[in-house]
């Protein structure tokens, strides 16, 4: 899936070269004006200086470090909230939501598949750093650094508990989104995560009406459902969840031994607190084992079926690529199936390129979508069946714990834990004695 983007850029460059070849002629002088006349210069205001990017990077690292400290050591929700507001203001309203790690997924994908695309270092760092931090310190990034999470967190007023079945099912959407984003980025078709970023138009205080409505709706939902984008849609969240499962340290509800007081049970607006499992006799679990075996057998079949199915979506999917749309339009016009022309086809004809070349390019993009569709479909099959398998494995749980993957490290549960409060009190006493 590597060639198409470079091919299209090549055509552009090639044509530009031809034009310049024709233009690079003798100069035709402007009229002779008197000595008083000063010809104005075409102004070219420079783009943002590079130190902006470097500052962003520094702020990101600092915020990640502070977030990790706050969630693991300091354990104070208020400070976490303050850092979150700072991130919202800095990465959101001040830097206007770009560059963000969520969108960077696409830059990474494109860079992996198209060797001619050179990825900005900042995008690379923004992608890697939160992942690395999560691998060691849990999802402090989600808690207090990500502006998209922050804007949803500040509007959360009346959290409802989403039942487990709905939460688990909706959680699949993020995988679909991630897979689609990777497919479209790898084929050079579109960066859909950026195009459909729901909150970036709020950060910029301007945007298309559709995006404003989309973002507004999500924020409205976010008043009642904790962070809907983070939990059910965020493609970067998929990766972070995976990393968080393996993280070395992560935020815990209680700093020490759980006393099973059940006070924290309802404090999490994100449904991320695992409650202790009742002891179940082995006999009851037999049907579970059968189901598990069946699912394991089903896994390859579903994956194959998914691949087969999605690879047959190559035609509608490939229309996300401008070259394919153009090829289809040109084909319609060339074969007389439509009478008129559109801007796109006029512009293409003005380039003088033969339509066959375009068809060939469209076909190769289409082929990439077939190949990508197999991978994507198999991946989604794996995700769905994998989730079913996970739901069929009995795992014993004896304490109240923050879920390894879903916990956003927001710190809301800390204050409800009497053990935590006692610890704070002890510290206070020690400090007073010292004084």
């Amino acid at each position: 899936m590597t060639h198409l983007r470079s091919k299209s850029t090549l055509t552009v460059v090639l044509l530009a070269g031809l034009i310049c070849a024709a233009v690079a002629q003798q100069r035709f002088p402007p009229p002779d004006f008197g000595p008083d006349y000063q010809m104005p210069e075409t102004t070219t205001p420079p783009p943002q200086a590079i130190w902006y990017d470097l500052t962003d990077l520094a702020v990101l690292v600092t915020a990640l470090v502070v977030a990790s400290y706050l969630t693991l050591k300091n354990r104070n929700r208020n400070y976490i909230f303050l850092l979150m507001v700072f991130s919202l203001v800095y990465f959101g309203f001040w830097r206007q939501g770009c560059v963000c790690p969520i969108g960077a997924i696409q830059n990474i994908t494109l860079a992996l598949f198209d060797s001619s695309y050179s990825i900005p270092l900042v995008a690379l760092a923004f992608f890697v750093l939160p992942l690395a931090f999560t691998l060691f310190f849990g999802r402090g990034f989600c808690a207090a650094v990500c502006p998209l999470g922050a804007i949803q967190d500040v509007v959360l007023l009346h959290p409802l508990r989403v039942p487990l079945w709905l939460q688990q099912a909706l959680g699949l959407l993020a995988y679909v989104y991630l897979a689609a984003a990777v497919l479209f980025a790898a084929t050079g078709s579109a960066f859909i995560i950026c195009e459909y970023d729901p909150f970036v138009s709020f950060f910029r205080l301007s945007g298309g009406i559709n995006m404003l409505v989309l973002g507004g709706s999500l924020l409205l939902i976010g008043i009642f459902v904790g962070r809907p984008y983070c939990r059910f849609l965020c493609p970067y969240g998929v990766l972070l969840r995976l990393m968080s499962r393996l993280s070395k340290w992560r935020g815990t509800i209680t700093p020490r031994q759980c006393v099973q007081c059940r006070l924290c049970e309802d404090t999490c607006p994100f449904g991320a607190i695992d409650i202790p499992t009742p002891q179940t006799p082995d006999a009851v679990r037999t049907p579970d084992r059968v189901r598990l075996a069946a699912l394991l057998m089903l896994l390859p079949i579903i994956m194959l079926f998914g691949g087969f199915l999605v690879s047959h979506l190559s035609t509608p999917f490939s229309r996300m690529h401008a070259d394919v749309r153009l090829a289809e339009r040109i084909y319609l016009e060339e074969t007389g199936q439509v009478e008129d022309t559109v801007d796109e086809s006029d512009a293409f004809r003005a380039t003088g390129n033969p339509p066959e070349m375009l068809y060939q390019q469209a076909r190769s993009i289409h082929d990439q979508f077939i190949r990508g569709g197999w991978i994507l479909g198999a991946f989604l099959g794996l995700v769905v069946v994998g989730k079913l398998i996970r739901l069929s494995v009995f795992r014993r749980q004896s304490d109240y714990q923050a879920h390894r993957a879903y916990c956003l490290a927001c710190g809301r549960c800390f204050a409800s834990c009497p053990v935590h409060l006692q610890t704070l009190k002890d510290k206070e006493v020690i400090t007073t004695i010292k004084q």
């Binding site: 590597t2 079945w165 205080l205």
Partner: protein
């Protein structure tokens, strides 16, 4: 347990149920909410199209203001009327005011709304915080078993929904268009697999340019540069490994090869930025008894310049390895032609004709003194051999060129003792001319309708390329014997031809007659071939000095710029840019923006 209970009580005591700030917080929230709502309404109203609030308009004015003004303008064309003119101006002013007013309202409104919402949420959150209830253990624990079953069902259900959606999309989206224009991978609509002559002309696809004659298609090449101030140096990039080959350029990609006897490499640079886009080791399946040849130090493994056709880039090395990469650096094919038996090492650059990759594979004779030299044509896309011609010549260090004379395209090859022309489509010999007595390194050049060939230290020939058979007696237009290149190749245009020898003697001759206009001692050493850019002659000395001379009947030096690095390869020219490889680096010289 008692301890804990008291903790909880303490905690409760710390947060009284009724805080004096609660009421003000709620009030603030209400005010901010109402304010935000008003701002939102204003913004929405502002977004919707408006009707101009003018009193002077005709009664049937359309709600779309722009249509109205267009109609008025059309009326004005029919009967010019000062009053109407004034009306148009008034309306136009009003419309523009409205347009920018709306924009201002949107900008301010957005800030106000943001502020309002910030206050609203802050107040509400504070209120909620102040009235936060104590955490209490919920009454019942969730029944594990049914929850899990329901969850499994819902996950499976969503999977099924996804499958259904995909099926629906697949069924409803297939149209005739895709089947005909896109789907057929077996029904082949072939675009020509090679670039058009115009496209080639705009690029620098091989050694010494589009026709191998060292002439640039562009006139807008900088006439000087300065490595100290950076003037006109667009970029400079280190080349990871050494080679004498010259850069070739297609689009925004610059290709070079390099390597040692151990490893052969191809590099692709971004012509705009100098970034090394990719660097690939050549991976060739070689014959079982293959042993890396000893590489002659002065020639190196990568003396042969690459070729590019906009689809692929091709390279050949002194050990007989040949490789094609696509523009993204994927190796398309590679083969080993056998180690060429060459006294100083293989150096012939690649040339292209349409889809054919031409390899002048000259070698010394075998023990029985039979000639082993060959000319190959490979299909660029696949590397398949298209034709092969045996050549009755000794090993040479020249590169073939493909020229387009009035009658036909020809491949011209120089090697002792013959200069031979071939038909590029089939490899048939067209004519030959005996003019070489010993080793030949300068490549043939075509200018002003004549082919030029240099026999070092002996004679320089101008030939008419329109004969057939052995044309030694009939087609020599003229010869000179005072300045003869030994390694560099000549360059010429329709009037003049320039000869440069290694010791720096430069001669300018009439292309038609061979009469000498002038000669000049450059007092420098040269390996690189001279190039013509419009009416300017570009020379690079071995010490890295670029001499810019007028290509005219009088000697005139225009400028002299110092690279400060050793140069043995020849420059490449594209639109506004010059690429030159030094011992370590690749320079791009071009106009600064």
């Amino acid at each position: 347990m008692n301890q804990k209970e008291s903790d909880i009580n303490d905690h409760a005591a710390a947060r009284p149920q009724t805080c004096p700030w609660y009421q003000p917080a709620v009030a603030t929230a209400v005010v901010a909410g109402v304010f935000s709502l008003i701002v939102s309404v204003v913004l929405v109203a502002n977004y919707l199209p408006q009707r101009p609030a003018s009193r002077d308009l005709p009664e049937d004015a359309t709600p779309l203001e722009s249509a109205e003004i267009i109609r008025m303008k059309e009326n004005l064309k029919l009967n010019p009327d000062d009053q109407l003119r004034q009306q148009i101006r008034g309306l136009d002013l009003q419309l523009r005011r409205q347009y920018f007013h709306r924009r201002t309202v949107t900008a301010w409104g957005a800030w106000l709304l943001l502020g309002g919402l910030a206050v609203f949420f802050t107040a509400l959150k504070s209120a909620a915080h102040l009235r936060r209830k104590l955490p209490l253990p919920p009454s019942k624990t969730a029944p594990q078993k049914t929850t899990l079953t329901r969850t499994r069902l819902s996950v499976a259900g969503l999977g099924a929904i996804l499958i259904a959606a995909a099926l629906a999309l697949a069924v409803f989206s297939t149209g005739d268009i895709t089947q005909n224009a896109l789907a057929p991978s077996d029904e082949i609509i072939t675009a020509p697999p090679y670039p058009t002559p115009q496209q080639i002309k705009a690029q620098w696809p091989g050694f010494r340019g589009p026709d191998g004659s060292g002439r640039a298609a562009y006139n807008n090449i900088p006439q000087s540069f300065n490595t100290d101030t950076g003037e006109n140096i667009l970029w400079k990039s280190p080349v990871p490994s050494f080679g004498h080959n010259s850069p070739v350029v297609w689009g925004n990609r610059v290709f070079l090869s390099g390597g040692t006897d151990k490893i052969q490499q191809v590099f692709c640079f971004d012509a705009d930025t100098g970034a090394l886009l990719w660097q690939k080791d050549v991976n060739v399946a070689r014959p079982p008894n293959f042993e890396s040849p000893e590489i002659y130090e002065d020639t190196g493994i990568a003396a042969a310049t690459m070729a590019a056709d906009g689809r692929r880039a091709y390279a050949i090395f002194a050990n007989g390895d040949m490789v094609a990469f696509d523009l993204d650096g994927n190796q398309i094919w590679a083969k080993n032609l056998g180690i060429p038996d060459s006294m100083y090492g293989y150096a012939a650059s690649l040339a292209m004709y349409q889809n054919l990759l031409l390899v002048q594979f000259d070698q010394g004779p075998d023990e029985q003194d039979n000639f082993q030299s060959k000319l190959f044509a490979f299909d660029g896309a696949t590397g398949a051999l298209v034709w092969r011609t045996d050549r009755p010549v000794y090993d040479s260090w020249t590169s073939p060129i493909v020229i387009d004379t009035e009658k036909r395209p020809q491949i011209i090859t120089n090697a002792s003792p013959w200069i031979i022309a071939y038909d590029p489509a089939h490899g048939k010999e067209l004519w030959r001319l005996e003019c070489f007595g010993s080793d030949v390194a300068p490549s043939p050049t075509y200018a002003g309708g004549l082919v030029f060939a240099a026999q070092p230290y002996d004679q320089f020939y101008a030939l008419r390329p329109d004969g057939s058979g052995n044309v030694t007696e009939t087609h020599i237009a003229w010869t000179v014997d005072d300045i003869i290149p030994e390694t560099s190749s000549p360059v010429g245009n329709d009037q003049l031809v320039f000869l440069l020898d290694g010791a720096g003697f430069l001669g300018c001759y009439d292309v038609k007659t061979g009469s000498k206009f002038w000669e000049h001692d450059m007092k420098d050493m040269f390996s690189s071939s001279p190039s013509l850019v419009g009416d300017k002659l570009y020379l690079f000395s071995e010490d890295g000095v670029m001499y810019l001379l007028a290509a005219a009947e009088k000697y005139e030096e225009i400028s002299r710029s110092h690279l400060g690095e050793r140069v043995t390869s020849s420059p490449a020219f594209t639109d506004g840019r010059l690429f030159i490889r030094t011992e370590k680096n690749l320079f791009c010289i071009g106009r600064m923006p």
